[in-house]
Amino acid sequence: MDATYTWELLANGVVLGSSYALLAAGLAVIFGVLNVVNFAHGALYMLGAFAAYFFIPLTGYWIGILLTAATMAILGIVLQEGLLRRLPPDGAFSRSMLLTLGLAMIIQNGAIVLWGAGPRQLPEDSRPQGHLLLGDVIIPTGRAFIVVVAVATLGALYLLLNRTQVGRAMRGVSQNPTAALVVGISPERIGRLAMALGVGLAGIAGATLTPVFTVSPQMGITIVFKVFAIVVIGGLGSVPGAVIVAYLVGMLESFAGGYGSAMTQSISVFLFMIAIMLVRPQGLFSTEVRV
């Protein structure tokens, strides 16, 4: 095990972290603004991957990713208007969990009925070809693109949340919904936007993985729990927290797996979560305890 190996693990960690960051940011936006724990996030990520599977061969990689993001954002708005907004205000939180859990089942099994349970992969000529060589470290182009897309998307998300009025309004609603009402911010509009963003981000995460992994209706099942752990460690509803922790967990997993076994890799994130919960129950990047 030499320096190249360490660099290789580092590069793997960044790629892994980029996928986690896209997913975790979306989950955090939805939780922060709507106070909804979105158990359907993994299923929506899978839908994003399927959307890209259909789009990319028609339009090429970059436009395929954009189309996927747009389609999924619209789906987010539909879910908000059709389902989440209709929850009665009392007990909306616990009902939203049952609702999104049911939604996850429906999407997943619907996908099996529609597309079959078998794995699919993009045709060879639709995938980003070749690989980058950083020193002795080989990074397949498709994986490098994950990092590029994640950095660009998360950068845009940062600007949206911090440099625009509508972003300030979203952060305002997530921190104090009542105060936001008083200044005339429409909770419906912000809710739609949050779901559009959250589901769109899940879609982008799925889309970037389509050329690298295989696409199958089950692909969202395992990852969603990891992403929940990341959002909890980051401080529920904190978007920057979720993103930073996503990259930390990507590194942690990569090194835990590289120097230990695949088992240490898969439990490392949950051990990390338990440790953080003991030391700092509100999460790493939350300034207060949220209910």
């Binding site: 009025q165 300030r168 952060r171 921190q175 104090n176 936001a180 009402l181 008083v182 200044v183």
Partner: protein
């Protein structure tokens, strides 16, 4: 902009027959009051008399059971809170409600944003006027050094000042303040009173819930007294304090007020 003008124009806010019960217990019954443009109306009464419920009904946070609420002659009864806010009724809360991780500047700009749709004509001129107003209120309240800091680090008094500034900067049709002075020190009381008087001089209409007798007497042109959810009396402060019923219900029971 004075209250004596324009008999034809409807009052800024007219509340009649307002009723609200919680699980069969009447919190408000048949409350009525009128707020004229450019005046400061005080809403007073002992704890639990229904002042905050009345404010919540008017601003849409609680849906009233009965009555009529007219803003400039248009009904806002039972509308959603953010729509009432957009219509020009902007309030503060007894427990100050801010966004802890947003900066002071972000508070001011959020406060302005929700009320004005992003119009195109004259937007830039209006924006620069708004920015100037925001700065001047922050300067007046001694908060300009902290404008890039998150609101979470402010002291309680500073939070109350920020909440007030965020309302005043929007120059709403009516500013509704729920106990603006509660829990703050005398220096900040002075700042708040001066700010309210200054804004009123510039034409700002206010509806204020407050226990501080001296403040009510010096600031309000008219006072409405609630007791057990009912309107007990109404009139200029000087007259109200002489009403024995008011004295007994409000001052007598509290035992801490001496009519000035």
């Amino acid at each position: 902009m004075t209250a004596t003008l324009g008999a034809a124009a409807p009052p800024a806010l007219q509340v009649t027959g307002l009723g609200k019960s919680f699980m069969g217990v009447a919190a408000l019954s048949d409350v009525e009051f009128t707020l004229s443009t450019g005046t400061v109306l005080g809403l007073i009464g002992p704890n639990g008399s229904g002042k905050s419920t009345a404010l919540d009904c008017v601003t849409g946070f609680v849906r009233p059971d009965s009555g009529q609420i007219l803003l400039d002659g248009e009904s806002i009864f039972g509308k959603a809170p953010h729509l009432i806010a957009r219509a020009g009724l902007v309030r503060t809360f007894q427990t100050v409600k801010l966004y802890d991780q947003l900066t002071l500047d972000e508070h001011m700009s959020l406060s302005l944003r929700g009320l004005y749709k992003a119009g195109r004509s004259g937007a830039s001129r209006r924006r620069s006027a708004e920015r100037k107003r925001a700065t001047s209120w922050l300067v007046e309240f001694g908060l300009e050094q902290l404008r890039s800091a998150p609101a979470g680090i402010l002291s309680y008094g500073q939070k109350k000042l920020l909440a007030l500034a965020a309302v005043l900067v929007t120059q709403p049709r009516i500013a509704l303040l729920d106990e603006p002075l509660a829990g703050v020190n005398p220096r900040i009381i002075d700042l708040i009173r001066d700010a309210i008087l200054q804004a009123n001089t510039e034409g700002q209409t206010f509806l204020i819930i407050e226990h501080n007798v001296e403040f009510i007497t010096s600031c309000c042109s008219e006072v409405v007294v609630l007791d057990a959810g009912k309107k007990l009396a109404a009139g200029p402060p000087s007259v109200i304090w002489d009403d024995p019923a008011v004295y007994e219900a409000f001052l007598g029971r509290k035992g801490d007020g001496h009519a000035g």
